[in-house]
Symmetry: C2
Subunit: 299 residues, 2 copies
């Protein structure tokens, strides 16, 4: 059982993360939810099909969940065919979804009461870095549980232990607050640049050396919006879900969020226009239409 | 005359930039405006005191202006004792102030009509990089004028030629749009982190490897807000002036700026509370008071 890992939620992020575990030599069991295709692709790479979360857990010493939000984690763990129904005592559950830290702590309480262990380990980097196994993984758990989770996590990226259970989610939301605002900052700035006649390639190059330098500007936008594509990447409605979790948490603990609230409204407008399943750079289309300009790199 | 440079505006940025020119071996002439102290410090390093802008220009083949805004550039160039009254035909004027590109193009028109040459070359990097001569310099001008300005600019940092006259200012405003929003994104995110009990050092380390990574978070905040200091750095009222220029320009060319407009209002509130001459990270004090938390690095 030592090397056995289960993976529940083989979507846009989960599928390449599961493939990284196979490449690292783990005995992997997966299961399908709505869509069988990713399971078939993973089986072709050497994974077993566990049929449902309980079946996945029966075959695995460590069970990973990577699903859109807390209700899906709940279903995967505690639903009719949930993983807890198949798991041996002491099973290590790792939730790599991005959800509210409040929900995370509640899952931890219920799993521990049932004799299991729990680690929250949300990720950052998008599908590109999921494929190369170079995700940033933000881990909340006890030292002992982190030690046991570490070989599994290391197959998918670099684990960073930031505190106790729930703290991985807190710091992940910190990242999401920053990217949601920084993306809009970049879009307002580059739409202004293009409309004012600036060369976008030259602008990117110089901002990359200036105080405005940021990861999204240098690494995300050139592959997406500025190349004329809004293929995810990172789905706009998932960012909205993360931002909603951040705004809810901030309200609960009394932190004002004027800029992040505006960002949420802008992404919500873009989702309402039909871009919810596109990359979150789609919010740029509102700016391009309003300004009457297309913002593109040359090559 | 080859190696003679005049510098008008030896303030928080101008003084260390002028000192870089002296270190590089230029024969430098400066003059005082309100405050004589920086002139006396530069004279002690080998500069000449030209008394007023006209006197500075009489001694210089190249005249740099580095002042807060367009009215001060106008006064330095065309005022009663303005540099144009002392400058020889063909003098190369370099404006390193951050001002509206519209004003820049008007200065270019007037200088050219009077037989002079003009380059706009605003900078990014703050006082820290002004002192080390490692500024990002964003240059708008003809190829010929850039070639002549380059040895002078290279003494203060790295010149980046982004287009014709005015385009240096456009791209500088692009940077200011990004930093004004990204700073607030970082502040909302880190205030949330601190109030939720996260370790700020661990949070900085992990975000530095995640999609939220940005220059201000890694390089500016640890020296200022997160160390408990709001000494400039970059004065909040100067950022407000830059943002106002960006918002005015955006309105003139029809680009929507919802996030940057909100940022302007937040900085304006902080200025109204008495922080206009402090570092622009002072806007964090509003968040800290509202959330009832101090956000600090450990060491």
């Amino acid at each position: 059982m030592e090397n056995t890992v289960g993976f529940i939620g083989v979507g846009a992020m989960g599928e390449p993360m599961a493939a990284s575990l196979l490449r690292a030599g783990f005995a992997l069991t997966v299961c399908a939810h709505r869509n069988r295709e990713p399971v078939e692709r993973l089986v072709a790479l050497g994974a077993r099909d566990g049929t449902d979360p309980a079946g996945v857990a029966r075959a695995s010493a460590c069970v990973i969940t990577c699903v859109p939000d807390a209700p899906q984690v709940d279903e995967a763990l505690f639903g009719e065919h949930g993983a807890t129904h198949g798991a041996a005592p002491g099973t290590l559950f790792i939730d790599m979804s991005t959800i509210s830290p409040v929900a995370t702590r509640e899952f931890d309480r219920r799993l521990r009461a049932a004799g299991f262990r729990f680690v929250d380990a949300p990720v950052s980097g998008g599908t590109a870095r999921a494929k190369t196994g170079k995700l940033t993984i933000i881990v909340g758990a006890s030292d002992e549980d982190v030690r046991d989770a570490e070989p599994v996590l290391r197959a998918m990226g670099t684990p960073n232990h930031v505190g106790g259970v729930g703290m991985g989610e807190v710091v992940k939301l910190v990242n999401q607050i920053i990217i949601s605002n920084t993306m809009i900052a970049n879009i307002e700035a580059l739409t202004f640049a293009a409309k004012a006649g600036a060369d976008i390639d030259a602008t990117l190059a110089v901002i990359g050396t200036a105080t405005g330098s940021n990861y999204l500007l240098q690494n995300w936008l050139p592959q997406s919006w500025l190349a004329g594509s809004h293929a995810p990447g990172f789905m706009l409605d998932l960012l909205r879900k993360d931002l909603a979790a951040a705004l809810d948490s901030a309200r609960a603990i009394g932190v004002p969020m004027p800029a992040s609230s505006l960002a949420y409204q802008l992404y919500t407008a873009s989702s309402g226009e039909g871009h919810g399943r596109d990359d979150y750079t789609s919010v740029a289309q509102f700016y391009e239409r309003a300004a009457g300009v297309k913002v593109r790199k040359k090559a």
